[in-house]
Structure formats: C-alpha cells, structure tokens
C-alpha cells in the first residue's frame, strides 16, 4: 500500500497548530483574561456584559446613597435643633405662665420667644447644596416667607410633593419631607403655636399662655414622630449599602469565574504545546533527507 511520500506539509501544519496554541496561551497569561474577544466564549462574554452593567449600577447606587445620606442627616439634625428650640420656648412659656411675673417680665420673655420664632423660621428654610430642603419639590425658593397678613406670621410657599430615588433593584426610597408635613401641618403648626405663645405672653393672660404652651408641646411631639421618617430612611440606606457591598463582591467573583484566566491550566497547556512544538521541530529536522538515490553506486 502506497503512503504519502512527502510528510513535510503535514508536519508544517502541525507546527502551525502548536504555535497557535502557544500564542493563545501566552495572550491569556499576559492579559489574565480567558475571554478577551466574544468568540473565546460567547455565552461567557454575554454574561460578562451583564455582570459589568450590574456592577457599575451597584457602584452608582452606592454613590447615590452617599449623596442622600448627607442630605437626610442634615435635615434630621436641623429638626433636632428645631425641637430643642421648641423645648426652650416651652420652658419660657411655663415660666411666663407663673402668676408671680409682671408685664414687663412677660414682655421680656415674649421677646425671647420671638427670637426662637426667627430661629425656627431660618431652620425651616434650611438650604443644602443650593436647594431648600423642606420645600417639597419647589426647592428654588425658601418655603416659609414672612407674611403679616397670615395669623401664624408666615406663609408656606413650597409644595407637598415628595421625591423618591431608585437605589437598587426594585428598591426606592422617599428622600424628603415637605414643610407642610413638618412645621405647618394641619392642626399642628409650629409657627402658629409660637405666635400664639408670643401673643399670650404679650397679653399677660396666663390661661392663653398655658394653652399656647400646650400647642407648642404638641407640635414638638408631632415633629418627633415625623423624625422617625429620617431614622427609618437611615436604617434602610445602611441595610441597602450592606446588601450592595455584598452584591458587588459576588459580582466580582462571578466575573472572575467567567472571564479570568485559569492560570495553572493555561500554564500547563502552554508547557504541553511548547513540548509538542519542540518535538515537531525536531521531527521536521530529522525527516530523512536520504533517499535511495544517495545509496546507489553509479
């Protein structure tokens, strides 16, 4: 049976193949990637696209959470200051309701309460990074303006709309409480209460002073209950941060599994290919140059 008398083309083709394998392995080792173009592993490449998108989105959620935490903390500590101010007003009111004071004493106390009223007004008009925090969504304008025609002395010019922000898959959080739900809610208006206290102190009528003190107390209590919103939000944000951090860790592991070169395996493949290549080179060199012509004596 006749065989192919010229094995060289086959050997050269084999050399090509081993060289190809060597090149592929070297590329993987130097890049650390097993998937550098989609054809390396199309399914993994597609999953890696998803993985990258999810990781990037999670990083963004963490950044957004950071922004919102700052805002919320600011708002909450401001409300704390308001509550403290209201407590001071209450003490002043209690003092002013005692029968032993005279009119000028009460007038002095009234002035102090006016000072607290101004303070609360400016706290309610808190501006954070250029926007008014307690204005609902009308954040370009200070929500409480002085209004002599208003019984409480101020008018709320903000709105009652709220914002939510998406901070995770199917997770979004309300990020603001409008002033109309804090300081000037129906039935519990801080400014009205303070104004009533001032009016009462100025009139000297201990009954109305006590009544006003009661008003201020109930607005302070209302504010405290509303502040729960901020505590809740903070807790949810912390929980979401923890979740996102573990999510990004998992995504990083998944990315590794999908696309990172399995170095021990690749190095082993490279060694095998190099050995085969070397052997083939020696075979090519050794392919006998002799044929029968060399041996014939003429």
């Amino acid at each position: 049976m006749r065989v192919n008398p010229n094995p060289l083309p086959d050997l050269l083709a084999a050399l090509d193949q081993t060289q190809q394998q060597i090149n592929t392995d070297l590329a993987q080792i130097s890049s650390g990637q097993s998937v550098s173009v989609p054809s390396d592993d199309p399914a993994a490449a597609a999953e890696l696209v998803q993985n990258a998108a999810q990781t990037s989105a999670a990083d963004q959620f963490l950044r957004s959470i950071g922004s919102i935490q700052g805002e919320l903390q600011n708002a909450d500590s401001t409300l704390n200051s308001v509550t403290t101010a209201l407590q001071t007003a209450i003490s002043l009111g209690v003092e002013g309701a005692t029968g032993t004071l005279n009119d000028s004493d009460r007038a002095a106390i009234a002035t102090e309460v006016q000072g607290i009223q101004s303070q609360v007004l400016s706290l309610a008009n808190l501006s954070y990074q250029g926007t008014y925090v307690f204005a609902g969504t009308a954040t370009q304008t200070a929500p409480y303006v002085l209004d002599p025609t208003s019984p409480s002395g101020v008018t709320y010019v903000g709105n009652s709309n709220t914002n939510s922000v998406t901070l995770g898959n199917q997770f979004s959080l309300q990020t603001n409480l409008p002033g109309s739900e804090l300081f000037s809610a129906s039935g519990t208006d801080v400014f009205q209460a303070l104004q009533d206290l001032i009016t009462g102190l100025q009139s000297g009528d201990t009954t109305s002073i006590s009544a006003a003190v009661g008003e201020v107390t109930s607005t302070a209590n209302y504010l405290d209950t509303q502040r729960v919103f901020y505590g809740n939000a903070e807790n949810q944000l912390n929980a979401q941060q923890t979740y996102l951090n573990s999510d990004t860790t998992q995504l990083a592991q998944q990315q590794n599994t999908l696309g990172a070169a399995d170095l021990p395996a690749v190095i082993s493949s490279l060694t095998t290919a190099e050995t085969a290549h070397q052997a083939t080179l020696e075979a090519v060199a050794g392919v006998t140059q002799d044929n029968l012509f060399s041996y014939l004596k003429q």
Partner: protein
C-alpha cells in the same frame, strides 16, 4: 527458425522501451516538488508476436504510453473541500475583525449605556444641580459617539470587503482564462491519443485555486471540461472562458454579474461566497441590530423627556435627535439634541426640585424598551451572536482544514512522487537496458561469426 536480425530488432525494442521508461522516471524526479504534479508511470506492453511455422516468436516490448496516476474522485473531493475552506477562511477573517467592535472597554456601547443611566440616577438625587445635569449630557454624547463609531467601523469594513470582492472577481477571471487555454492544450493532445499529463495537472491546480475562490462545478466531457458555478452560470466552456463583471448597486457596493445577469446572491462558497456573505448578510444584520438599539433608546428617552418639565418649568423637548423612521442608519446618526443642561426634563410636576421624570428615565434601564428586552439584555445578545458566529465559523474552518489535509495526504499517496520508488525504478530500467545492450553485443558477435563464416570459404 528465427533470424539474428529479428532478435536484434527485439533487443533494440528493449533498449528504446527502457529509455522511454527512464524518461518517465526522470520527469517524475524533476517534478518531485511541483505542486499538483501526478507521477507518471510507463505502460510497457509486450509487442505482438509473429508466427514463423511452427513457432510463435515474440517481437519485444512496446512503450505503449506514459500514464499519469491520479484519482479523479479524490481530485473532485479536494476541489469541493477547497471551496468550503475558502469560504470559511474569508468568513472567519472578516468576522474576527467585526467582533473587535464589541469587546468590553471603557467606551463600548454596553459600557456607555450603563454610564448614561448611572448619570441619570445621580440626577435623581440632585435634579437641579447644573453640574450633575452636565454630566448627563456628557454621558449621552459619549453614548451617541460609541454608536456612531461602531456603525462607521462596520460600514468601513463593508467597503473593504467590497474591494476584496472586486479583486477576487479579477482573480477568478484570470484563472478561468488559464483553464480555458489549458483545456485547449489538453484536448489537442488527448484527441491525438496522447497523454496530456502535465497540462492536466496544471489545469487541476488552476481548478483547485478557482475552487478556493468561488463555488465550481466540474462537468467532464469528450477530452474537455465545462466549469460552472453551483447554480449553473458558465465559467469555462471548452476553450472559451466567460468573465464575471462587477457593477455598483444602490448601496454603493459591487454586485457580481455574469453575461448581464446578477448572480451575487447565488454565490455560496469559496472566498467570494464567504466575503459576500459577511458583506451582504452578516454585517447588515449587525447594523440592523445596532439601529434597533439606537432607535429604541432614543425614542424611549425622548418619550419620557417630552412628558416631563425642564429646570425652567417648560415641557421637555427631544433629548436625542429623532432617529429615521425606517430605523436604518439610526446608530450612525445618533446625536444629542440639547446642549443646555437646564433643558433636561427631570421634573414631573413642573418644579425645579422634582425628580419624578428623572426616575422615570432611569426606569427605562430595566424596562423592555428594545424589541421586548432591556437595553443591556439586548446588547449582550448582540455580543453573544457576534461571538457565536465567529466561534462556529472557526470550528468549521478547523474541521474543514483537517479534512482537506487528509484528502491531500491521500492524493499524495496516490499521485505523489516517491524518490525511493523512482530510484528503484531507475535501477530496474537501467539493468534492463544494460541487459538488452549485452544481448545486442552478443548478437553483434554472432553476426560477426556469421560473416566470418562466409569470408573463410571465400
């Protein structure tokens, strides 16, 4: 009773036959490395005997012919496989270039889509912040640019494949011309009853080369060949070759014509077939997918944008320039329509602090707005398809080259020149020649004896 002269003639026939056989061996050895050469074998036949009562005497040997040893079925298989190999080589090379557009980087389409939505999420936390708004516009510009760049790169590749089509048609025409000429040379010899040996080899080589370029069907007939494409378009008819032409079509690409008929879509194999397939089917399909993605994104973002309010309390105007109604070219022309960051409609209630519309815009990221899929899902599908096409074609290419290598091996074992074999044959013919020469010497001596015999009596 035979005559010395008859024996002399017989011995002489031996000399010339062995000489002729040696010529075949010499030709084989000279062509040991000629690609496509089929080894020649002398056909030695005993000459017709004569009857000289009561004896039948042989008259020596005739070198009847010198045959080329080739297996036509193998040749045909090799030619078929060359077509497949040519097609796959062209496809793999082109698609490998195509897929570089879809490698994850800092600016590929997938990354830019995610960046865009990230910036919208940031906008939702600070809807009236001008620098955040500018960030959204910058991200949108980058997104549009990544679409433009990818679409342009695909168009450019189409153009260079188009040039390759024109060049390949030129090469095809050259080869069919050669084959027609060789047909003439072959039939001249074979019609005269001769072995057209090396012309047939050359013609087969040319046919193999042609097969790697285009699908070829070979129909042998009386000492000649007809070549057509797979669907019957004539390429070579006897000594006449038929040129293919290229003509620009409405898309600015070249179609292939034969005798005035557009045969572009019927070329399925060979390098031309592979190139046409990538140029006319695979790249356009990819462009359509990109156009779908660009159109879907632009239209859905515009839909949300125009339903909300900008920083000035006005109803939003288009965010992206509206893509063409047919969708074609949407990716290449995608661009952002606004340059003033205050025009982004983040607000859902008309106030500057509302983020409701920004939230609605962010939600597009997870809604099935692109042919029933989210933008990222759709894009990852595109990446998969491109990678899969390359990977499949590469696997087929490897398989095909292994088959071709085997076939070539088999062909070489039938038709390849073995120097050992030729050396052995040479020795054989040499010995036979020497023996015949010795016989002639002996006959010569005997003739001398006869002559001497006659002179002695004189």
């Amino acid at each position: 009773m035979s005559s010395l002269n008859a024996s002399l003639a017989t011995a002489l026939s031996g000399l010339s036959a062995e000489q002729g056989a040696l010529a075949a061996t010499t030709n084989n050895v000279a062509n040991a490395n000629t690609p496509g050469y089929s080894r020649e074998v002398p056909v030695l036949v005993s000459s017709d005997p004569i009857v000289v009562d009561p004896l039948t005497l042989g008259t020596g040997v005739t070198l009847q012919s010198i045959e080329s040893i080739r297996d036509p079925i193998l040749e045909s298989s090799i030619q078929q496989e060359s077509q497949t190999q040519g097609q796959l080589n062209a496809q793999v090379a082109a698609l490998q270039q195509t897929q570089t557009n879809f490698v994850t980087s800092t600016s590929d389409i997938g990354t830019e889509i995610t960046n865009f939505f990230n910036n919208i999420n940031q906008l939702a936390t600070s809807p009236s912040d001008l620098s955040v708004r500018q960030g959204v516009l910058t991200a949108a510009d980058n997104l549009a640019t990544s679409f433009n760049t990818t679409a342009n790169s695909l168009s450019q590749q189409q153009t260079s494949l188009d040039q390759s089509v024109v060049e390949t048609v030129g090469q095809i025409n050259q080869l069919t011309g050669q084959i027609a000429q060789l047909n003439g040379q072959v039939s001249d010899l074979e019609n005269a009853g001769e072995n057209a040996g090396s012309f047939v080899d050359q013609r087969q080589q040319a046919i193999d080369q042609l097969s790697s370029l285009v699908d070829v069907s070979v129909i042998p007939s009386n000492n000649t060949l007809t070549l057509t494409t797979a669907n019957g378009t004539p390429l070579v008819l006897g000594q006449q070759s038929f040129n293919l032409q290229t003509q620009l079509n409405a898309d600015g690409l070249h179609d292939v014509y034969a005798q005035g008929v557009d045969i572009t879509s019927s070329i399925t194999s060979g390098q031309l077939g592979g190139t046409l397939q990538v140029r006319d089917q695979q790249i356009p399909a990819l462009q359509t997918q990109l156009d779908t993605l660009a159109t879907g994104l632009a239209n859905s973002v515009n839909g949300v944008q125009t339903a909300g309010y900008d920083l000035n309390g006005e109803l939003g105007t288009n965010f992206f320039n509206p893509p063409p109604a047919s969708g074609t070219g949407a990716a290449a022309s995608l661009s952002v329509a606004i340059t003033d960051p205050s025009l982004i409609a983040a607000s859902s209630d008309g106030t500057s602090g509302s983020n409701g519309n920004a939230e609605a815009m962010y939600a597009l990221n997870t809604q099935p707005v692109i042919a029933g899929q989210t933008p990222t899902d759709y894009y990852s599908g595109v990446v998969f398809n491109v990678g899969n096409d390359v990977s499949n074609a590469t696997a087929e290419q490897t398989a095909s080259s292994q088959v071709l290598a085997q076939l070539n091996d088999q062909r070489a074992s039938v038709s390849g020149v073995s120097l050992d074999e030729e050396a052995a044959n040479m020795v054989q013919y040499q010995n036979a020649y020497a023996a015949s020469a010795q016989v002639i010497t002996a006959i010569n001596n005997m003739m001398y004896d006869v002559i001497q015999m006659t002179t002695l009596t004189g």
